[in-house]
């Protein structure tokens, strides 16, 4: 990718502590040492099933969670020790202007008692203290137009409950864009919408990238919609990246057994022909627990579910290694016999 970097995550780790008894605490390792690079105008898909850590990683990048280890730099500025960011609220605001977050549930992420125009206007006002009311109103309309909520004059007077799920999700995008961020993190923005409505939101994300030069991190469990709009894919499993690379390379020929599992679980209709999926009909693995393993045990994160695990996988954790086709995969066996 020739475009400049907008964001770089290095060795990002996020642990949560959970009370599991009166005095007992368990560490949940949501994200483990993830490196991620996002370029200008790139759509990057973070894919994995529930509990894989994709949302936690997104929230660390958005500055909503602080990382346990590692850090995220935006344009080379580390959020942690930039000199002007002494107090917490300026730091939050700085992060917000870099990265905006669009949530999964359009039914609960908008203030229900506010008209659409005021919920956007207020965001604008917060970030453009010098602009006058007229200018802000014009910009509100422009934003609604941009996300396809037309006719604007009617839409801006509505309350969230008068809108459909797809329209509400468009309002969420408009609110996020009001801050003029460089990066948008869209966390399952279409998973609660009807299949027939999803296309419009996916198109919108593509248009924002093409027209506004935004970089987008698209968090999803659905590899098919990821393929439609993304350039790059990161596949997460139990908090670790198991495979990453150009999306077509990975989707057309997945190499990590977990990526293969994800793709082979898709309904037959979406698969089409020409996708090389070994073991599509292999029996589903039983162990689905996402509980963290005790520290000190170093084996492949996918070991317990892997259909092709060898003895080495139980002793050593495979690191991501680059292959000739531009992808990286964390599996001892991947690419050894078939490439």
């Amino acid at each position: 990718m020739d475009e400049p970097l907008v964001l770089k995550a290095e060795k990002v780790t996020k642990h949560f502590e959970a009370k599991t008894g009166l005095l007992k605490r368990t560490v949940i390792r949501a994200v483990e040492s993830v490196d991620l690079e996002l370029h200008k105008g790139e759509i990057l898909a973070l894919v994995g099933e529930s509990g894989s850590g994709k949302t936690t990683l997104g929230r660390v990048i958005a500055g909503m969670y602080s990382s346990t280890n590692g850090g995220v730099s935006y344009f080379g500025t580390d959020t942690g020790d930039a000199p002007s960011l002494q107090d917490k609220s300026t730091k939050r605001r700085f992060a917000a202007q870099q990265v905006q977050y669009v949530f999964q549930d359009p039914f609960s992420s908008l203030p229900p008692h506010k008209k659409i125009k005021s919920s956007i206007y207020e965001v604008l006002k917060l970030y453009r203290p010098k602009a006058d009311a007229k200018g802000l109103e014009d910009e509100t309309k422009k934003l609604l137009e941009l996300v396809g909520l037309t006719p604007v004059e009617q839409m801006k007077e509505k309350f969230p409950h008068e809108l459909s799920g797809g329209q509400r999700q468009r309002v969420s995008f408009a609110r996020a864009l009001a801050v003029r961020p460089k990066v948008l993190i869209a966390d399952e923005p279409v998973s609660m919408l009807d299949v027939s409505i999803r296309a419009g939101i996916l198109e919108l994300m593509k248009r924002l990238r093409d027209g506004e030069g935004l970089s987008i991190i698209y968090i999803t469990h659905d590899i098919t919609t990821a393929r439609v709009i993304s350039d790059t894919i990161y596949v997460l499993y139990r908090g670790r990246v198991v495979e990453k690379g150009p999306i077509d390379t990975v989707v057309q020929k997945p190499l990590h057994p977990y990526t293969i599992t994800l793709i082979s679980s898709l309904p037959g209709l979406t698969l089409g022909s020409g996708v090389h999926v070994p073991g599509r009909d292999a029996p589903a693995a039983k162990d689905r627990s996402l509980r963290s393993e005790p520290p000190g045990i170093d084996h492949c994160v996918f070991y317990a579910r892997c259909p092709i695990a060898i003895e080495l996988c139980a002793r050593e954790r495979p690191a991501l290694r680059g292959l000739a086709d531009g992808r990286e995969v964390a599996c001892f066996l991947a690419g050894s016999e078939t490439t």
């Binding site: 027939s196 098919t224 393929r227 022909s273």
Partner: protein, 327 residues
């Protein structure tokens, strides 16, 4: 073929005739289901597909007589010789779970959070098993759980929050099959689950159908999931069935413009990187568009579509479509 099924004088297990469901709202009558008729034969897997607000869930609720005021329903739901809509509470209680089971939408959240699985599960069985059979309760629970791939020892003593989404969905399915019902209606059984679990649940339903000779009605907004296991599909739009037929026929050559839109919205892993989608939004069911309710979103709209409600016409073997293009 099906050991649990008694010989019945009618061929159809379920016959729905002119079923309408409405809700009385302050803005007027909301017509959720409009004169829907269809039949289900034993062993069928019928899929009902449509966007949110197309009336799928209201239809399912009507099939099980679960509607409560302000909902009103009209028409006939014949299950064997009985009309489900005219049964009293006592008769319904005997019917539910034992002959007709329901897996509601978001059913993993329908378990009682403060009761152990075994207590909720045995509650259902106690209602239906005779005094003499009650000592079988434990065994029936273990059998049903093992059929859905769960280990009874781990699950029965657990509280719902100790189980994953997929496991909770399996528990609900185990309850639904435990008394060997003739028909199971499942509303969006996999919608909140991720793809891997989704596939497991669908594979399991297909397996159970084969083993136990179940008859299923599955409801979803995602036609690609239904296509995996359904042999018949009903496509609903704004409360009406706009197309019906064998699923392979519908998927290979959708006739109604709405069905074509649904089939085209399936994102695929190969080929062109485009998702087509259907422009516009589903209509408001209180103020339905005149004529064909789909006409404001339809690219083949003709003048007649604005004034005339299309009736279903036969367009081939077991194939019907309600669109003026096929008059």
């Amino acid at each position: 073929m099906i050991p649990t099924l008694e010989v019945s004088p009618v061929d159809n297990l379920l016959e729905v005739t002119d079923l309408s469901v409405g809700y009385v709202t302050k803005n007027g009558l909301l017509r959720a289901v409009n004169e829907v008729s269809f039949k289900v034969s034993p062993g069928d897997v019928t899929g009902i597909v449509g966007e949110s607000g197309s009336g799928k869930t209201s239809l399912a609720n009507a099939l099980l007589a679960l509607l409560r005021p302000p909902a009103i329903s009209k028409g006939r739901v014949s299950f064997g010789e009985r009309n489900v809509l005219s049964l009293n509470d006592d008769e319904l209680r005997k019917l539910r779970w034992k002959e007709l089971s329901y897996i509601p939408q978001g059913s993993m959240n329908s378990l009682n959070p403060v009761m152990r699985i075994k207590d909720q599960f045995s509650g259902i069985l106690q209602t239906h098993l005779d005094q003499a059979e009650r000592d079988r309760t434990r065994r029936v629970m273990e059998d049903s759980l093992s059929k859905v791939g769960l280990d009874a020892h781990n699950v029965l003593d657990a509280y719902p929050h100790e189980l994953s989404g997929g496991m909770k969905q399996r528990v609900i399915i185990a309850m639904a099959i435990s008394l060997g019902p003739k028909l199971i209606v499942a509303d969006e059984p996999t919608t909140a689950l991720d793809v891997v679990t989704q596939k497991d649940i669908m594979t399991m339903l297909a397996e159970l159908k084969k083993q136990m000779g179940l008859t299923l009605i599955l409801i979803s907004h995602d036609i690609s999931i239904l296509a995996e296991i359904c042999n018949y599909l009903l496509v609903m739009y704004a409360g009406r069935v706009v197309e019906r037929g064998r699923s392979e026929d519908i998927l290979s050559s959708p006739k109604h413009p709405y069905t074509s839109g649904l089939v085209a919205s399936i994102p695929r892993l190969t080929g062109e990187k485009r998702v087509a989608g259907i422009p516009g939004e589903p209509p408001d069911l209180v103020t339905l568009p005149t004529g064909c309710a789909f006409h404001p979103r339809c690219k083949y709209r003709m003048t007649a579509c604005v004034s005339q409600v299309p009736s279903s016409v036969s367009v081939g073997d077991e194939r019907e479509v309600a669109c003026l293009l096929y008059r």
